[in-house]
Amino acid sequence: MEKQPQRIVSDSGFEIEVVRKDEGYFHVRVSRANVIELILSAKQRCGKNILQLISVVDRIEDDIFQLTWILEDTADSSVFIVSADYPRENCSVPTFGDIWPTAVIFERELHEMYGIEFPGNPRQYEDFLLEGWKELPPMRRDFDTLEYSIRTYGERRKRIHTDPRKFIAETTGEWDTPVPMKDEDR
């Protein structure tokens, strides 16, 4: 028997690319105009669908954000994944916060990490993980975390010697300086 999400997809009538199909696993890619319709019909017709995750892949070379909604059916534990591409500039994505309360938090984090707008999400401008962040949103591919780390926190201390005993003796100073073992002690 055909599984519920697959029936929705075959009934829907719009263009759908199947990414991966497995036992209890169905991943499709649609155009961004059809995302809401597809997810809502999955929610209504499959009954007990829950939103597990909203994820973003920054495909900077194509200048798009790929958004992915992962739904799980609590009745048979099958996974239904919907992906769609959004332009990277002034990215604005519909919110699902009024259907699943968890979506509010997922979207709030994506706003902080990627700078994606979710119009209608009441809490998207609250700080979530970062506090007073002024740079580019950190999960974007064009944000260089190593450069930022060196600029802000300073370069890390590196080992000057490859011999650990010398290194420890130098860094700990007079404190508990380990006495190097003599060859006859070994």
Binding site: L129, L130, E131, G132, W133, K134, E135, P138, F143, T145, L146, Y148, S149, T152, Y153, G154, E155, R156, R157, K158, W175, D176
Partner: protein, 187 residues
């Protein structure tokens, strides 16, 4: 709300008493219950019956007001650093800091992370580093015994160092904490 006056470093008049005090201080190190990082998971076996750190006079205390030691258990995110400064400044003098893990020394495996500090002793004075990721309970006990030794010899002076060089520390702290709203010194 706060007392903005800087704490005073006790004068050297009581030098002999200082030694006696240090003997007492070293044998009752009370630790603030603040698990700042993943190293906190190894503090639980340490203060329960398996490793039992109370036999060394080390006990967990719920508030900084009752404690002498702050354990920075691993990497420190910027958001936590702000809380750590508050907690540290609220601890009564003398106070000591033990830093666990490689990530407090030089960033460890998070050297390129945008949200963790690389070198902890630029921001708060660290008395003892315990290396490892994560340090075993035995290693932490060893760190405590090193701290005791330092205190008895009068060399664990991070808290004096902090007050004397407060400007240096404040400058570094303000450099990473972008929304600085702490008072000059919050008691």
């Amino acid at each position: 709300m706060y007392c903005n006056k800087l704490p005073e470093i006790p004068d050297d008049r009581k030098k002999i008493w200082e030694k006696v005090d240090n003997m007492a201080r070293a044998n009752s190190l009370w630790v603030t219950a603040f698990g700042t990082g993943c190293g906190a998971i190894e503090l639980r076996p340490l203060h329960t019956s398996r490793f039992d750190m109370e036999r060394f006079g080390i006990a967990m205390r719920p508030t900084p007001r009752q404690a002498d030691v702050l354990i920075i258990s691993g990497y420190l995110a910027v958001k936590t650093l702000k809380r750590v400064i508050r907690v540290y400044e609220q601890i009564q003098d003398p106070k000591y800091i033990i830093a666990l893990g490689s990530c407090t020394m030089n960033g460890g495996m998070y050297y390129d992370s945008y949200n963790t500090l690389n070198i902890l002793d630029r921001y708060i004075p660290v008395d003892v580093y315990v290396n490892g990721c994560m340090p075993r309970p035995e290693a932490i006990i060893d760190g405590f015994s090193l701290l005791m030794k330092k205190i008895k010899e009068g060399k664990a002076e991070g808290w004096k160092n902090y007050i004397e060089n407060l400007e240096y520390y404040r400058e570094n702290q303000k450099k990473v904490i972008s929304n600085w709203d702490l008072p000059d010194y919050n008691w």
